[in-house]
Point group: D2
Chain length 146, copies 4
């Protein structure tokens, strides 16, 4: 069962000017990477996820989070939020709620589906009266990334 | 107790060319806003949050989320993630975990503190071997936004 | 001939909580806007341009700039840059060149066309050996914005 | 004189899972890179430029471009643009102008200085009545990048 995670590693050489690798080694230190390979794998994966979202393949399934801050005293707001989440029940995997202060709550919903549907859910939440800030963050199912 | 949320409303006039308001009305419709005021309040709040993060006031408290996708089969990865979260226990308010598939998990941590500390937490998680993607999303405590 | 720029202005009212308009007035001051209307028109236009680029209408004509920094000593690099610009002669309206120091040049090309073609031009320039940094900036023909 | 550009190259090995290098090779092909080394150098440089702008070192000199679209029929607008450029004469290296249509012009100014001053120039241009869109693009002098 663990077989698929024990994937074979490739090893290849990279040539890079001295001053560039010095600057990169400093970056690696600041960012607390264990070694150059791990830092480079990270740069590559980040680029591939960007490309995944940029591409026109609209039937591809991606994953994102929607983060929104709202005033829970606003009349009917919590009901409206729940109604939207249920309307997109197939796409909202889970959500988490924290109380920031007496008035303000922050909620994060984890969503899965095609890019334009997910954006649509974010826009609906953002448009509600009482939602003060709403950000949509694109990430990945990770299934194509080792 | 509800007093502070019943804040007095101001009303002011905006002049805007005909073709621009037509395009904006279309945007309002697409984005499902109830009315122009709500859409404009949203644009204003979004800009103020941007400004909050851009400004040099490093002792200001902000709120963000860190979203990361990882392979939970990676040896010691889950331990390392928990260790980092505990190391910054004052900053990590809560975290949420979902299983994306057999190998991949997605976690969202809600974090609070000054911008550079929060970025630091995100960078530490990102640098772990087995974390495939990590995004840091800036939002706000909402306390200065009505 | 100036008729089309003397477009009729609409005027409408916006309601906004007191504390939010105070924060916005401060933003207006910091950013040196003449008045609230100008600041709000700017927020609206910015959003409409974002929407223009996000939308799926791939035959729509947009405008962008490609900014790239390169070492002009690199063999054949300048030739390659010119070759790409000529290959997309219908899309590259103009370009501007400055010398940053003994080795480094910065060039900005103004490009016009559909989003994916323009991105393609940027990617080709970015991929050249000796191009150290390349950024693609999306803007607008302005024709739909008053 | 060419000595400093003939910098010594370092060569090091990177280990990477098979499926990740396959996806990256596809990216390299799509983006028209000559080889993996060039693509990886590009990822590294991009990250270093991001870091340069994020860091708190406000006396560091960076380079950017300001792209703005405006209606040249607007009374006194062109004068105001020129006045701002002169006010920051030490920072505006050059600017380029194209006519997009009967009403709309696009200008790109290449600017050099510390991050906050350059942002300030962009904000001043953006705030002018008649400027329909204004984007600030961060790049680099390239001096620390080989």
């Amino acid at each position: 069962m663990k077989k698929d995670t024990k994937e074979s590693l490739c090893r290849f050489g990279v040539s890079i000017p001295k001053s560039l690798i010095d600057a990169f080694d400093n970056y690696i230190k600041v960012r607390a990477y264990k070694n150059r390979s791990e830092a480079i794998r990270d740069l590559i994966r980040e680029k591939l996820v960007e490309q995944e979202w940029e591409s026109d393949v609209h039937d591809r399934e991606v994953v994102g989070t929607i983060t929104y801050v709202f005033d829970h005293h606003k009349r009917e707001l919590v009901d409206s939020i729940i109604r939207i989440q249920h309307q997109f029940a197939d796409h909202v995997i889970a959500s988490q709620h924290v109380h920031l202060d007496h008035d303000n709550c922050l909620e994060v919903a984890i969503v899965k589906g095609n890019p334009s549907t997910l954006r649509g859910v974010a826009y609906k939440l953002k448009a509600l009266k009482g939602v003060k800030h709403c950000r949509f963050t694109m990430t990945t199912t990770g299934s194509f990334l080792k």
